[in-house]
Each structure stands twice: as structure tokens, then as C-alpha cells.
């Protein structure tokens, strides 16, 4: 048997071919799309939640929506772009639901965390523990923002996307993206400043 035959068929078929297969009635073709794109979606979902069960739910919800709306996908754009747009909306919905259902507000960042952040100088030398602490701190600070502020900061600042890309992903116009980014930056700076106030009171 040749090496080629050992590779699963989904690995050597393009996204467009797999979509065509699924729309033709062979649902198993969708598993190839899931296997190919799930790492990217997991990385994206983990930007919005630290709870692994929430992350899994977000990714699953995203694939379910993708399956349902697959007929609306037009093959003139890459499937990945279409899927990431859908994933962005799913993450945004998750943030809004989370905010709606949140009963208690998170406490401000502690003095220890503020001190830790002030001590972090050489970013390149961050070890695994510090990376985990950094993500926890970032998540705690971002959790205080409104969903649209968190989304726009994550896309612009952490994923380093351009305003035009964010506008395409979210469906907002470029001006709205800039306005929301401006407000989000100020809001996050205020969150960080509050710990300063507590520290010296």
C-alpha cells in the first residue's frame, strides 16, 4: 500500500471539496473540516474564557452553526475566513451571555498581582508559570470590560489584527471599531489604575 493511501481522505482534500461533499449529503466530510480547523478555534476560544468546559462549548457551538449555515458559504473566499467570522460572533455571543448571567462582579486585581505586573520587565524571559500567571491576570482585567470592548481589544491588541480585519470579522464598520477600541483602551487603563489607588490608600 502506498503512503498516500494511508493519509485520511480529508487530509488531502481541500476545504471547498469537503464542503461540497457535505452539501451533497455525505455528512462524514464535515469531520475532516472539524479536524483541520479545531486547533485554531480552540486557541481563539481560550482568549475569551479560562474555563476549559466553556471553551469546548464555544468550539462545539461554532461547528454546529457552521454545519447549519454551510449552504450559505460561498466558495469565492477561503473557508477558514468564513469559519473565523462565525467563531468571532460565537465568542461575542458567549461574552454577552456570560455578562448577562454574571451574578457577582470580579474583585479588583490584588496588590500582589499589581506588584507582579510592575516587576515584569523582560518579556522574552517569561517561563511557563509566569505565562500562566500573565494569562490569568489578563483574563481578570479583560473580564471587567464590556463584551464588545473585550472583543475589540483581543482582536486588535492581542491577535494583532488591523482595523479593517476586525471590521470584517465583527461586521462593524471601521469607525465603530476605532471608537470601541478607544473606549476599551481607556476602560482597561482605568481597571489597572484602580489597583493603583487601592495600593496607596
Amino acid at each position: 500500500m502506498s503512503d498516500q493511501s494511508e493519509i485520511p481522505s480529508s487530509e488531502i482534500r481541500s476545504d471547498a471539496e469537503l464542503v461540497k461533499t457535505v452539501l451533497g449529503g455525505d455528512v462524514s466530510g464535515f469531520e475532516g473540516l472539524v479536524a483541520r480547523h479545531q486547533p485554531r478555534l480552540f486557541a481563539m476560544a481560550r482568549r475569551y474564557s479560562r474555563s476549559e468546559s466553556d471553551v469546548q462549548d464555544i468550539v462545539q457551538d461554532c461547528f454546529c452553526k457552521a454545519f447549519q449555515k454551510l449552504a450559505s458559504y460561498r466558495s469565492d473566499a477561503p473557508f477558514e475566513h468564513w469559519l473565523m467570522k462565525l467563531a468571532t460572533h460565537t465568542c461575542y455571543d458567549f461574552l454577552r451571555n456570560k455578562q448577562r448571567n454574571r451574578e457577582d462582579t470580579f474583585a479588583d486585581l490584588t496588590d500582589e498581582q499589581a506588584n507582579w505586573l510592575d516587576r515584569q520587565q523582560p518579556i522574552e524571559g517569561v517561563n511557563a508559570d509566569e505565562a500562566s500567571a500573565a494569562r490569568a491576570l489578563l483574563d481578570k482585567a479583560l473580564a471587567k470590560l464590556a463584551p464588545e470592548q473585550r472583543l475589540v481589544l483581543t482582536l486588535l491588541e492581542l491577535e494583532d489584527k488591523s482595523v479593517r480585519e476586525v471590521a470584517e470579522l465583527t461586521g462593524w464598520n471601521a469607525t465603530l471599531v476605532k471608537v470601541r477600541a478607544f473606549r476599551a483602551r481607556n476602560a482597561l487603563k482605568q481597571v489597572l489604575a484602580r489597583m493603583n489607588v487601592r495600593k496607596y490608600l
Binding site: 455528512v27 469531520e31 469546548q56 487603563k189
Partner: protein
């Protein structure tokens, strides 16, 4: 740069340098496949037309307003014709009587 901004940029930089993992739980795609909705939504033809229809709505409204305003302000052409006929007839009668 003040401390407040400093912390902001440091936090953002830390976030950039510590991207979340892209690890996938074992056999996650099987879970997704087992929970897929039963049917694919058919494409709604109105969905494709909807944005264009919304863009055309103001133009349609404007045309409607113009039509209403036109009917209101411009006198009925049949009335003008009748009046012109009356003028011609009365003039002709006057000429004939003379």
C-alpha cells in the same frame, strides 16, 4: 509614560507573548459529529436579496413621495385640456355669431 499606561502596555505585551494553547481534547471531533444538528439550513433566497432591498428602500420611499407630491401639486392634465377646448369652442362660437 505614566505608570497607568505602563501597566497597560506591559499587560498587552505579556498577553501577546503568552498566546493560549491550541491543544485539542482527545477525540473532540467525534463529540462534535455526535452533536451536529440533524439538518443543514436551506439557503433563504430572501437572505441574498435583503441587503439590496434595504439599500433600495430609501430610493423607493423618495419615488413614492415624489409621485404623491406630483399628484398633489401638478393639476390634472384632462382639466387643462377641457378648459382649452372650452376656450376654443367659445371663441369659434363668437366668430360664427358675428
Amino acid at each position: 509614560m505614566n505608570k497607568r499606561s505602563n501597566r497597560y502596555y506591559r499587560l498587552i505585551e505579556l498577553g501577546r507573548h503568552t498566546p493560549p494553547s491550541d491543544d485539542v481534547p482527545y477525540a473532540f471531533q467525534h463529540r462534535v459529529m455526535a452533536n451536529l444538528p440533524l439538518a443543514i439550513e436551506p439557503v433563504d433566497p430572501w437572505f441574498a436579496w435583503e441587503p439590496a432591498l434595504w439599500k433600495l428602500a430609501p430610493v423607493g420611499a423618495l419615488l413614492l413621495m415624489l409621485a404623491v407630491a406630483g399628484n398633489w401639486w401638478i393639476p390634472d392634465s384632462s382639466t387643462i385640456t377641457d378648459e382649452a377646448d372650452d376656450v376654443v369652442t367659445s371663441t369659434a362660437m363668437a366668430v360664427l355669431q358675428e
